[in-house]
């Protein structure tokens, strides 16, 4: 207990000294990667300082760039950062999605090559799993990795790689065997996106953003040690990564803030401000809003509980409930604003209103990314309800 208090005091002192004042309350993600790591801006000065402390990945072992903190110490660090409003120093898929898989299944050489670079914010990663013909049915993917002497030669077309055009490396699923049954011919490979033969193209979405990319592989040669673990085990690694992704989305969509809605103003307050004396037709809208507020209150309560039942089923539950609720709520904001919620650009709307309109469009993707709602229902039916295998 006393040891923890000493640690907390030291953490607090260090953070106050080393967190640039401009960053208190900073809301945006601070990414790493080749393109930004040497920037002399506060966000990246902060990132480099935290990385040097091992606090971008506090619980990772020191030899991989972490600080080797215990769970309790990591909680203390997180609590003090929250208290002082210090931002997370590094937002990185290499940390949240790939790191644990490398630690469990990679060789020591691979761990040494990649993990410290991830922890330092030097290399930024993206995921290259889905394909135009392999979305929900990911296991039917066709991009191939052909073994030739000491190399793999990669050919194929990946889609929906989040922010691929800003990434340095990608963790990918390729088919290494066409003879093996569908799930067993899939392998996890690590690929430098600067390799010759790779083209990355962003996709424009209906909200105007370009958050996802296509990645084309045209006879791309990568070393043999791009392979993680065994060739036939790629699908099991993929399932672990997808489960982490699902949990992350589940957690963020049930978080105790309104980040998913692009604003901090309560939905009910928005309605009350715009309709101080609601007409009968507006009252129907208000009823929908109160329902959504009550669902939100229940979600926040429920998300405080520990994992219940089958872990995949609990993540699926939060993911579906949370994302469907965000969609409903974003929609209610736009409807509350009426035509004031339909602005694409131009001076009829404030920048905030433009943002809310686009946020509501983005929200439609939440029930599709990280495993569609329908896939989550399948998971629940199979794992929590143990219903017999579905048709076909």
């Amino acid at each position: 207990m006393a040891k923890e208090r000493v640690f907390e005091t030291e953490v607090r002192r260090w953070l106050k000294t080393n967190c640039p004042p401009s960053l208190y309350g900073y809301q945006k993600n601070i990414w790493g990667g080749r393109r930004v790591r040497d920037l002399e801006v506060d966000t990246h000065v902060w990132q480099r300082r935290m990385a040097a402390k091992g606090w971008t990945v506090p619980e990772w072992p020191p030899e991989f760039g972490g600080a080797g903190l215990t769970i309790e110490e990591a909680k203390i660090l997180a609590a003090v950062m929250r208290d002082l409003r210090c931002p997370q120093p590094l937002f990185e898929f290499g940390v949240t999605l790939l790191g644990p898989t490398l630690m469990a299944h990679a060789t020591n050489e691979q761990k040494t090559q990649h993990l410290p670079e991830i922890a330092a914010g030097n290399i930024r990663w993206c995921q290259a799993f889905s394909e135009p013909a392999a979305g929900s049915d990911l296991a039917s993917l066709g991009a191939s990795a052909e073994r030739r002497d000491d190399r793999y030669v990669l050919n194929g077309h990946k889609v929906w790689s989040t922010l691929g055009h800003h990434a340095d490396w990608a963790f990918c699923l390729f088919r290494t065997s066409r003879d093996a049954p569908k799930h067993q011919g899939i392998s996890l490979l690590l690929v430098d996106l600067e390799s010759p033969g790779i083209t990355v193209e962003p996709i424009t979405l209906i909200n105007g953003n370009e958050d996802f990319c296509e990645i084309f592989f045209d006879d791309v040669e990568v070393p043999i040690d791009s392979l993680v673990g065994l060739e036939r085990d790629g699908w099991s690694y993929a399932k672990e990564i997808l489960a982490r992704e699902r949990t992350a989305i589940a957690t963020s969509s049930s978080s105790n803030d309104l980040v998913g809605e692009g604003t901090s103003e309560s939905l009910l307050d928005l309605f009350t401000t715009l309709h101080p004396d609601p007409s009968l037709d507006a009252i129907a809208l208000r009823d929908e809003i109160v329902d959504a507020e009550m669902d939100q209150a229940c979600l926040w309560l429920a998300s405080k509980s520990n994992v219940r039942g089958h872990p995949a089923a609990w993540a699926a539950t939060l993911k579906v409930f949370g994302t469907e609720l965000i969609k409903r709520r974003c929609d209610l904001r736009v409807r509350t604003m009426g035509c004031q919620g339909l602005g694409w650009d131009g001076e009829l709307w404030s920048p905030e209103e433009h943002k809310l309109a686009r946020q509501a469009l983005w929200a439609r993707a939440l029930s599709i990314v990280g495993g569609t709602t329908e896939i989550q229902l399948n998971i629940i039916a199979k794992r929590a309800l143990e219903l017999p295998e579905s048709d076909s």
């Binding site: 009350t272 109160v290 309560l301 039942g309 229902l377 629940i380 039916a381 017999p388 579905s390």
Partner: protein, 368 residues
């Protein structure tokens, strides 16, 4: 609340075991054959086991285990549609304990199952906390009360009523205990769909001063507190019954075959059950957290409405889906699903439906 975690855990295990041994939907079916709306034998057993004192402190004769324990008891017994006055019991206890000088003897009798007290609040076909015309006029030595209560749950079964009446001279609501023998009470009783009984009560009574509960706080605060706890108990009834019904429907889907396969293998039905599962899991998790906070004295003024709004709507949806997913046989009196459906209708109206609680949640939030 003084009960420690171990005692509460033991209680919950014992309650679960009791429910497994004594709980049965057959008890409700038997009740239909009587002229009663309360399973008195069950109530007697609960009293003997000390379960009715869960929400009462030790110095007033209870075991002080709190609402976490009490609502768990209600929840597990509601799996088999236990038909007793769980909600009125909690509210009556809260109201009597809110008196400046608590009538400890009355509380003892209630906990012992000797005296059944129900709450006479509602005055029309839909419940409304403030929609009260029954008036209590101060006279020499007491009050004259005139009015009519409607759909008083267990009205005919109870030994006495806690009557909520307007006190015009004070511009407030008053709470009065009226024993059933009081001259000037006329009851009309009837059976609800789900086997419970309700009464309309015509009131032309004269009560002595000490029949009015003299409260430590305003009647508004006292009633809100008792109401919120009552709502948590109704929500427990809804939740327990929903859980059992879900299991029943799931089991049927795994067993029933049509078109050469188990009907539970059809994706459309799987998805409907998964959606119900999500609502049920969310409600369970929220409920457990809310009740834990209540016992920790972290009061959420809107928690009663939050839970009731969700739990009664969920039970209704589950019951509706239950009949549909199972099909024709679920429409027979012999099959249990219909009993759940009918209970869901009654609990929905009890102390305000979803729409009522949506409005209440809004009002409480706007005035904060």
């Amino acid at each position: 609340m003084s009960g420690d975690t171990d005692t509460i855990t033991q209680f919950k295990i014992a309650a679960e075991r009791f429910a497994q041994e004594q709980g049965s939907v057959e008890r409700l079916r038997t009740l239909f054959d009587t002229r009663h709306g309360i399973d008195r034998d069950l109530w007697r057993q609960l009293a003997q086991l000390g379960y009715l004192g869960t929400i009462v402190p030790a110095d007033q004769g209870g075991t002080d285990l709190g609402y976490g324990a009490y609502s768990q008891l209600v929840r597990v017994l509601s799996r088999t549609l236990a038909t007793v006055g769980f909600v009125n019991h909690a509210m009556a206890v809260e109201l009597f304990r809110s008196a400046e000088r608590c009538d400890v003897e009355m509380v003892h009798r209630i906990i012992a199952g000797e005296t059944i007290v129900t709450i006479a609040w509602q005055e029309s076909h839909r419940f409304g906390e403030d929609r009260i015309s029954t008036a209590a006029v101060q006279v020499a030595g007491g009050y004259e009360i005139e009015g009519r209560k409607q759909f008083v749950l267990d009205g005919g079964e109870a030994d006495g009523l806690l009557l909520i009446a307007r006190v015009p001279s004070e511009n407030t609501l008053g709470i009065f205990y009226v024993s059933k023998e009081t001259p000037g009470l006329t009851l009309q009783s009837g059976r609800l769909l789900d086997g419970r009984r309700a009464a309309h009560v015509d009131i032309h009574v004269r009560l002595s001063q000490d029949c009015r509960l003299r409260l430590r706080r305003s009647s508004k605060e006292v009633l809100q507190r008792a109401f919120d706890r009552g709502l948590i108990v109704v929500s427990s009834e809804c939740l327990g019954a929903t859980e059992a019904l879900f299991d029943l429907v799931l089991a049927y889907l795994k067993e029933r075959e049509q078109f050469g396969r188990k009907i539970g293998s059809f994706q459309a039905l799987q998805h409907r059950m998964a959606l119900l599962f999500i609502e049920l899991e969310l409600t369970r998790a929220a409920f457990d957290q809310a009740v834990a906070q209540l016992d920790d004295n972290q009061t959420l003024p809107t928690i009663g409405s939050l839970l009731k709004h969700r739990a009664s709507r969920l039970f209704r949806n589950m019951a509706s889906e239950g009949i549909q997913l199972i099909g024709g046989i679920a429409m027979t009196a012999e099959f249990d699903v219909g009993l759940y459906y009918k209970r869901a209708q009654v609990l929905d109206q009890l102390y305000g439906d979803s729409g009522y609680h949506r409005q209440r949640y809004l009002s409480l939030n706007l005035t904060r």
